[in-house]
């Protein structure tokens, strides 16, 4: 599937907004960007590598030459790009169940947005406004967001063990090694291919 490379799914969506509403949305994003606790649910979900929302004003679509016809639009548009782990259904389910209120604040300003709950009309809406990806690349296709975080914790713990193990006796090393094992035991899952679903 073109939207998927390894364990990561590339999602694109575009929704129309009445121009006066985009300023409200920009205000919400400004708060979200500056008040980090508001991002807690997004961080805790821990299956989104990168995501972005981009508001395009109706007169701001790139125009590269006079020969290119100017866009003539009534709506501003909200673009959404996400790089997440798991299947489309899992993602939208989690969005609806965990981030419903936050998402409503983002998409409430888009035309015909039904709300994140109940999930069926929400999924129908997302399916309608989504467009497919033609090419998708990830530098670490077999790793989820949680794999990446766990790997960095292992790296840090190993560096600490290595720094402290230079001139230690075997008994002292063994003690440090056991402490290391305890600290990384939850982070040692192996990466690999994921089953493909929808």
């Amino acid at each position: 599937m073109t939207n998927i490379t390894g364990k990561t799914y590339a999602m694109n969506a575009i929704t129309p907004m009445k121009p006066w509403k985009t300023w409200i949305l920009r205000g919400f994003f400004f708060l979200l960007g500056h008040i980090k606790p508001l991002q807690a649910d997004l961080v805790n979900l821990s299956f989104i590598h990168f995501a972005r929302w981009v508001v395009i004003r109706r007169d701001s679509f790139p125009r590269l030459s006079a020969a290119q016809p100017a866009e003539d639009l009534q709506y501003d548009y909200l673009l959404f790009f996400s790089n997440f782990n798991g299947t489309w259904n899992q993602y939208i389910d989690a969005f609806s169940a965990v981030l419903g209120k936050g998402l409503n604040l983002v998409w409430f300003w888009s035309e015909k947005y039904p709300g994140a709950v109940p999930v069926t009309p929400f999924k129908q809406y997302i399916a309608r406004v989504q467009f497919e990806t033609d090419f998708y690349y990830t530098a670490y296709p077999h790793a989820t967001t949680n794999d990446v975080k766990a790997a960095h914790r292992v790296q840090q713990a190993l560096d600490t063990l290595a720094d402290g193990s230079g001139n230690t006796s075997p008994a002292e090393f063994e003690q440090a090694y056991v402490r290391f094992l305890v600290s990384v035991q939850r982070d040692l899952g192996s990466t690999g291919l994921a089953p493909i679903g929808v």
Partner: protein, 202 residues
């Protein structure tokens, strides 16, 4: 900066696609065919621009009509969407694209209006910036690690798990000796290749 999160930059480009009624195959379709055939793994052009965490290219044919009572409207141009998440600053990244994968860049963006070619790096940078959209809100879950640091960490994670398994129950002196050898081998291992996803045995 709204385009940045920590040390990661979120680039969004919308390049208008050439509309040539005389083309045997329309440029948007040529683009889709070309993009569909591009390698995605370690042979991907973006693996060569090694600061790229994740990138996508796709054709946006039109905006979406969501139904009544919304108004139905259409774009005058089709657009190539380029979304990339990379380490460092924009100028360096665009320069790397133009100098390290110029043929790939040309074969994609030559279907777009006003594209000057990657050969003129300054013109290429200027063109891409004209097509850039400012991100309104950008989220990066891990935003303080480079691609190479992440690939190294994933390699370390796999190697450590294997080392622990191989050395269970060994006497302290033997364990310490094995760890010293393991550490030397791990640190001397070549950098993992972006896009491959393969664990390298240490």
């Amino acid at each position: 900066m709204p385009n940045e999160s920590g040390s990661v930059y979120g680039l969004t480009i919308l390049s208008p696609i050439i509309d040539d009624p005389h083309a045997r195959i329309s440029h948007d379709l040529q683009l889709r065919m070309h993009l569909g055939a591009l390698p995605r793994g370690e042979d991907s052009p973006f693996a060569k621009v090694s600061s790229t965490h994740m990138a996508r290219l796709t054709v946006m044919n039109d905006v979406v009509y969501v139904g009544m009572p919304a108004c139905e409207e259409h774009l005058q141009s089709q657009y190539l969407v380029f979304e990339s998440n990379f380490d460092g600053d924009l100028d360096t990244y665009l320069r790397r694209m133009a100098t390290e994968i110029p043929d790939h860049v040309d074969s994609v963006w030559s279907h777009c209006i006003g594209y000057p070619g990657a050969g003129d790096v300054a013109a290429f940078e200027s063109y891409m910036k004209k097509c850039q959209l400012t991100t309104t809100f950008y989220f990066a879950d891990v935003n303080d690690k480079t691609v190479q640091q992440t690939l190294r960490a994933l390699q370390t994670q796999a190697a450590v798990a294997s080392f622990i398994e191989r050395n269970q129950g060994k006497p302290a002196a033997e364990l310490q000796n094995a760890f010293t050898k393991f550490l030397g081998k791990l640190r001397a291992a070549p950098d993992p290749r972006p896009g491959s996803g393969k664990d390298q045995s240490i």
